[in-house]
């Protein structure tokens, strides 16, 4: 079970790596966001469309990377807390069962 858990994770990493390498081989690959490219299609389909409202607030680029990191850190932090908590709980339960014998 434990081995299988890591196996899936390794496979996910391999797919990510392979996808990135294949993508990088493409000519002029800049890894622009597909969202940005879709908005460019909007301009191609209807060249006279102009966004009718702008962002309330846009973080300066240096700050934006920090906020992205913050989002990932919050997610990974809470997720990691849960996973560690459950593992510890299971071990405690096993130890208590052993003591009972």
């Amino acid at each position: 079970m434990k081995g299988r858990g890591v196996g899936w994770l390794v496979l996910a990493l391999l797919v990510a790596l392979g996808s990135a390498l294949l993508g990088g081989l493409r000519e002029g690959a800049q890894f622009a966001g597909s969202d940005v490219r879709a908005m460019a299609v909007v301009n191609a389909v209807q060249p006279d469309y102009r966004p009718w409202t702008g962002l309330l607030w846009q973080p300066p680029p240096e700050i934006a990377s920090g906020l992205f990191a913050l989002q990932a850190a919050l997610g990974a932090g809470v997720l990691g807390y849960y996973l560690g908590f459950k593992r510890g709980q299971a071990r405690r339960r096993r130890e208590r069962a052993d003591d009972g014998d």
């Binding site: 996808s19 990135a20 966001g33 490219r37 389909v45 309330l56 996973l83």
Partner: protein
Amino acid sequence: MHIAEGFLPPLHAALWTALAAPFVAAGVRRANRLAREKPQAKLLLAASGAFAFLLSALKLPSVTGSSSHATGVGLGALLFGPSVMALLGAIVLGFQALLLAHGGLTTLGANVFAMAVVGPWVAFGVARGARWLGAPLAVGAFAAALSGNLATYLTTAGQLALAFPDPASGVAGSWLKFAAVFAPTQLPLAVIEGLLTVTIVNFLREYSGDELRALELWPESPAVEAR
């Protein structure tokens, strides 16, 4: 699938917001009921939200030479049913619209509808279908997360196509254009999301039998019962 701020005409933006709002409201009610009736599952709910938070923060490079990201909403839909994910997804998208200049407030309704309503419902439906077919849990979880991810992006393509029909080929032609931008980039990322979801589901099967039983998930699954 983040439609940028101002990139839907006002009428479309208002309609998608009106469509998404009741789902988010139902998600709030469902989350409250879960917390009240199954308090032992609260931490798992937080962890499912955290999974979506983490995955949607990571822009991954793809085979097409552009990048995009996973949605992470399939896992929660699998565990808690689709309705609660409307709330969790809306929190993720709200955070990104307000703080990361990713998406926007006028397009928040449309983005919520794609990622937090259609994605989870498709994932949930596929998981149910896989179970009905007798597929192993890992296969069901993988297929659910993968199809939830793809469905989200195809929905975004549909929303853009409705707002910006092609002068020559109409809404359908426009949808194909937008889908052609999203789908090839998204496919490997959807596979990655599926694999990560299976990783978490396997962990839960090993360590979280109590919560899974409380959620009455896969009641007939012997792997859960054995714990």
